[in-house]
């Protein structure tokens, strides 16, 4: 009897191709829907926050805060928060890179009074596949001090 129809090899190749095409379509659609997490040094940026090591000393009379980056993670900026009874509120964000081992002085925001509690949290520069974006570390990785 004369055999008709597709050979098993062609049928298998067609099935595998079809499966691959569908898998690629689903992967591309799903990838575009879920936002990418920020990374630093190839790992989640939260891990770098744990390794940040810096000192801060507000000097009210001079209207300055001195920062020293003592760790090996470059700090992209500093967020200054005012701590009140029942709240922690952002006062100002500085985008000023403090390289490892570097010391800089930033202006103390005008709306802070002497004796007030402030939290200084580091801002790191994270990266996604396409861009670099700032990420503010949790208050737990910041320094709480008085103005």
């Amino acid at each position: 009897m004369k055999k008709r129809g597709l050979s098993p090899i062609i049928a298998t190749v067609l099935l595998i191709s079809l499966t691959l095409i569908i898998a690629v379509i689903i992967f591309i659609s799903a990838k575009s829907l879920i936002s990418e997490k920020l990374l630093k040094f190839g790992e989640p940026i939260e891990n770098s926050c744990e390794r940040v090591n810096f000192n801060a000393e507000p000097i009210y009379s001079e209207g300055k805060i001195n920062f020293v980056n003592r760790g090996n993670v470059p700090i992209y900026g500093i967020e200054i928060k005012k701590k009140n009874e029942g709240s922690v509120k952002i006062v100002k964000s500085f985008s000023k890179t403090i390289k490892t081992g570097e010391t800089i002085a930033l202006d103390l925001p005008n709306d802070l009074s002497q004796g007030e509690d402030i939290i200084l949290t580091p801002i790191l520069l994270g990266e996604t596949k396409d861009s670099k974006q700032p990420y503010t570390c949790d208050n737990a990785y910041g320094i709480t001090t008085k103005v």
């Binding site: 879920i34 936002s35 997490k37 920020l38 009874e85 029942g86 709240s87 208050n139």
Partner: protein, 174 residues
């Protein structure tokens, strides 16, 4: 006998063209539908535990004399970029054994029964890195539990972020 009808090549080409046309037609309806369904199914993924109750201030409490309720809330950004946290709203659901009340907080919103504790004038949603204590006047009810939900820019309310049982206040909620 003389063969009549379409040749196998033309028939195959016609079937292929028909199949491609049918797939294109179905795909034009199906792809937007699947995309919309997937968006609805995944847009809340990053905000599952976005709002968290913060207990360090001791303001997660109720005052039975004036029916004021306090809740301190912070955010849990988990590596989200700033653009992903802009324009979010906060829904608080106050419950007791019999009743519940939902309060939606949005930036520059105005709700008579809810205020922010301290010298922070306009009502606003707590931002990443901040902690705010909201004071809710639940008169005539007294609630013992609060749940927090994230409201997306689309207006969709995501699943519960966090919940807390309120205790009698030891501090003044004024």
């Amino acid at each position: 006998m003389k063969k009549r009808g379409l040749s196998p090549i033309i028939a195959t080409v016609l079937i292929l063209l028909l199949t491609v046309a049918a797939i294109s037609l179905i795909a034009s309806y199906l792809i937007p539908f699947i995309k919309k369904t997937l968006t609805l199914g995944t847009e809340c993924i990053n905000y599952r535990e976005y709002f968290k109750f913060e207990d360090s201030f001791g303001y997660n409490c109720f005052n039975s004399t004036n029916n004021l309720h306090g809740v301190s809330i912070k955010t849990n950004v988990q590596g989200l970029a700033e653009k992903d946290t802009e324009g979010l709203g906060l829904a608080l659901i106050f419950t007791d054994d019999l009743t519940s009340k939902k309060v939606e907080i949005k930036d520059n919103g105005s709700i008579e029964q809810i205020k922010i504790l301290g010298p922070i004038a306009p009502l606003e949603v707590v931002k990443p890195g901040e902690i705010l204590t909201y004071v809710y006047n639940g008169t005539p009810n007294l609630y013992t539990k609060v749940e927090a939900y994230a409201i997306l820019k689309s207006g969709r309310i995501c699943d519960k972020s966090d919940e807390i049982n309120l205790v009698p206040c030891t501090k003044k909620l004024a």
